[in-house]
Symmetry: C2
Subunit: 245 residues, 2 copies
């Protein structure tokens, strides 16, 4: 009997070349497939909601597994976690509808980008926060964030190689907060272009240093030119928090 499982995964992406399976590199999907090979006798298919980049972390990555098997989701979670490396952990497993496919039908994704903004770095934040030593004006970053809300063509905020039909995306939330020295950029939208969250983070950093004015954001978006946006902030600051269907 074909069964579809929906999994929620958390991982520390530091030691992985991203999500997607690769022949010679260690990836999160690759490890998940290896664990499945130890559990299932029958052929299976694995799909992931988001192809996170090398070094990007997740708390709420979603994967689906299609397989002819009879194991309960609870036992599957235990068996997978027993075979996965310690920095990848299945948080939840459940039965999904037969047509559920983690890659398609995503309605919302939420990411958090973390920046540790201080004169010297703090080792405790070194794995999942981007250390930035120049002082950032958080009020300006918050002011700029508001201009991103709504539906726009975000092609200026994508790296070459995006191959989507449309580069329009809808951002529902973009909150910039600061706590314990960490600036958190939380972004929630219906989908994101390649590197879009990291380029938004890089652009907000430039706003924080005064290199871009908050009120320039609308014309930067309209320009559709990658050269007008900030740098692609490093992968290690990014965590995929949630995917909704």
């Amino acid at each position: 009997m074909k069964r579809v499982y929906k999994l929620r995964l958390a991982y520390d992406g530091t030691n992985y070349c991203g999500w997607q399976r690769q022949v010679k590199q260690k990836t999160v999907e690759g490890e998940l497939i290896k664990a499945c090979e130890k559990i299932f006798r029958n052929p299976f298919c694995v799909y992931g909601a988001s192809r996170t980049d090398s070094g990007v972390h997740a708390v709420g990555q979603i994967a689906s597994i299609e397989v002819d098997a009879d194991i309960t989701p609870y036992k599957l979670r235990g068996a997978l976690n027993a075979h996965l490396p310690k920095d990848i952990v299945i948080q939840e497993a459940e039965d999904a509808e037969p047509d559920f496919h983690a890659r398609y039908g995503t309605k919302e994704k939420t990411y958090i980008y973390k920046i540790y903004n201080n004169e010297v770095p703090l080792p405790q934040y070194a794995r999942d926060s981007y250390y930035y030593h120049k002082p950032l004006e958080i009020e300006k970053m918050q002011e700029a964030a508001a201009y991103f809300l709504g539906e726009h063509d975000f092609v200026a905020f994508s790296s070459l190689g995006s191959s989507f039909k449309t580069s329009n995306r809808h951002i529902y939330k973009l909150n910039v907060t600061k706590k314990d020295g960490i600036i958190e950029i939380l972004v929630n939208g219906n989908g994101f272009l390649y590197n879009m969250v990291r380029i938004i983070a890089g652009t907000l950093i430039w706003v924080g240093t005064g290199r871009i004015r908050p009120e320039d954001i609308p014309s930067i978006i309209e320009s559709k030119e990658r050269k007008n946006t900030g740098h692609t902030a490093p992968a290690l600051g990014l965590t995929l928090m949630e995917v909704k269907y």
Copy 2:
């Protein structure tokens, strides 16, 4: 001219055999001494406030350096950080009184012990929190915590090998809180016996599981018997937060 510097250090203790210099093992003090050797031509002495154990972390370890040198504290911080490994960072450096000695005259120390209490671990917390899967009743842990306050002979909460003149210590604060799945035990006192914070944490965990009742704490303290207290909670959950003189 002899000069005394006071340093505040943060480190991720995962890869170190504790603070204290050892001949064959990598330690935090050992790394600090190596960095000093690259900076100072003259002989120097390094002292640490707290001999943190293997795997224990710090945000607020204090060290003092006595040396005949003329470098400003600001430049010393920069030079040390340039030579230290990335998981040890001098947060602050300042000139201290000529008789300042990091090991002596400490008035208060604050530690935080973190427990991630959930059915499955979260990789994001794996480096600095103890993963404990059985549900813990936080209200009982809070109730128990109150009994530790004040001055007591805490010999029951120390590992063999303590060689202090007295095992009386005064605990000013012992707060148990929970946030984002992490139980934080914050303890502040005038000093701690060897492994005392970790044994308090282990005992509070036993209270959380129901193995010890909160109201049994006073008689456990009075018994002065290590066998009546909980296990020594693992080092990785412990962080030295602050030292006051």
